[in-house]
């Protein structure tokens, strides 16, 4: 329920700040997860588990990365690649992973609390900066959000190369492709 609430808050915040596409995406996810809960986890998107040889996955991810770096920012090509990645990861992530608890439960709990608090802290700080940037004199100059600080960096092709590389590597790690055959 916590994650559904977090995604719900995110959907509401994005809609309030005028990022309607982001709002719709998060509301859709919330609806899917609520439906999944109501049906007792029986909501099936695809029947067959998606799997591919590591070399193929790496090649496709690399190609998408190159396109994201080289395509003009905010272009249709950029949009198509993000949508393709989003749909693919949603399909892959829908299938739950087996639990392999490698550490003592107390250590996992401490880690969960710490990282949750850090995530909440940066979200609250960012949201406060955003609200202050649109209500106080000085706006973005005095109260820069992370996007305002990141914008000049990702506008540059080398900056985008670093960002896209790290982002794809993180996604790869999250989906545990590295550990799959």
């Amino acid at each position: 329920m916590l994650w559904i609430s977090i995604l719900g808050i995110m959907a509401g915040f994005q809609t309030w700040r005028g990022a309607y596409v982001d709002g719709i995406l998060f509301f859709s996810l919330v609806a899917m997860l609520i439906l999944d809960r109501l049906t007792g986890g029986r909501l099936i998107i695809i029947k067959k588990t998606i799997s591919a040889p590591k070399i193929l996955t790496l090649a496709v991810t690399g190609t998408l990365g190159v396109v994201l770096v080289l395509a003009p920012r905010h272009s249709w090509v950029d949009l198509a690649v993000f949508v393709a990645i989003g749909v693919t990861v949603l399909l892959v992530a829908w299938e739950p992973a087996p639990d392999r608890e490698q550490r003592p439960h107390a250590a996992l709990l401490r880690s969960m609390w710490m990282w949750s608090m850090l995530a909440v802290a940066i979200c609250v700080w960012e949201a406060a900066a955003f609200v202050l940037s649109v209500t106080m004199p000085g706006g973005n100059e005095n109260y820069p959000t992370i996007s305002v600080l990141f914008d000049p960096f990702v506008e540059n092709v080398w900056g985008r190369l670093v960002f896209v590389g790290l982002w794809l590597a993180a996604g790869y790690g999250l989906l545990r492709f590295w550990r799959r055959s």
Binding site: V89, W115, L174
Partner: protein
């Protein structure tokens, strides 16, 4: 001055995150490294979708979406 404080706020969170992970790598049975923690929590479909959605949105928001300027 205000700008510096705002940026310092972001950097403090990043610094705490880095130190937490360094500590976790040294004492993994006391404070689990982020990889082990994520592997454990992502067993649940809801958490998995939540974490993956957050990751995807991070890329979408910073690399693709235009910065929205709200008029209040």
């Amino acid at each position: 001055m205000i700008r510096t404080i705002v940026i310092a706020g972001y950097l403090v969170v990043v610094a705490v995150a880095i130190f937490s992970e360094i500590y976790a790598q040294r004492k993994p049975n006391n404070f689990a490294p982020i990889g082990d923690m994520l592997e454990h929590v992502m067993t649940s479909r809801t958490t998995r979708i939540g974490v993956i959605a957050a990751w995807w949105w991070f890329g979408w928001h910073f690399a693709f979406a235009d910065t929205v300027q709200l008029e209040l």
